[in-house]
Symmetry: C2
Subunit: 172 residues, 2 copies
Amino acid sequence: MQVLLRYASAMLGKTYDSQVCSAARALELVGERWTLLLVRDALFGGARRFSDFQKSLGIATNILATRLDGLVEGGMMERRRYSRNPDLYVYLLTDKGREFVPVIIALTEWGDRWAAPDGKPVLYSHTVCGGEISQQLTCAGCGEVRDPAEVHARPGPGMPAEMAARMLSGHS
Amino acid sequence: MQVLLRYASAMLGKTYDSQVCSAARALELVGERWTLLLVRDALFGGARRFSDFQKSLGIATNILATRLDGLVEGGMMERRRYSRNPDLYVYLLTDKGREFVPVIIALTEWGDRWAAPDGKPVLYSHTVCGGEISQQLTCAGCGEVRDPAEVHARPGPGMPAEMAARMLSGHS
């Protein structure tokens, strides 16, 4: 948590600090421009070296260095030296970074539907059987969620009492 | 597409324009700071009026106005007047906006796991049966995806040939 707060503070000035919300906390870590695309390139494009990310995104090296450092400090990537004189590093995703796959696929599916007039740019398939992969909303009770309107949010154990009360009154 | 490009150009200077990627295109629309939290508040917090969003996020009114206008221009929200003298509006999600539910839930699940030391701040349940809702990676071939490492990305029909070749060579 300390690392998270320090990172958020350094990178975003704790922009979303007043938000008791896991989506907001996720955005503190990956909401900075380019950051999520770096995770995407590491996950799906085989990017590991500084130059791999640079080739893929074509952004200024100082911005790229800041973003990669932020991912390392936020615990999403690990930096390992693979050469001395000059010192060269690879950036490897940690479990915390690898588990961003569902977020990227959810974003991709939305973009495929609403912002891909020429067809899907990328297809995701299952390395085990070759089948097409997608994200689905599922219900532990009855299995399927047919419509996003069927999703209801309510305060959980991690929400302070006064905020929970406000959230519940807003819904009534 | 024209609306998307105009919006992206106005809001983000076409930051990700070189990226043929649906996740990047989604970020063009909702990657600006606060924007995704506005969608969250409209989806799950019952926010409709300018003042609803302001109360929830506590951000400067000029930033809030710019973000809401951006969501309207990007086709995620619709603005409707509900009073004259003074003119007052509600901001209602379109289908395009409502379909962001899976992205927000995927972000939430990641944040719950990696950035919620006090427990989940918000729980999502199914209005139909009350069951707990989650996002799952599924495979059209064999059903389940046990590990994010089992997801492979390859060029789809919407990717220009030369970029597809580069993507394939990067994987080889």
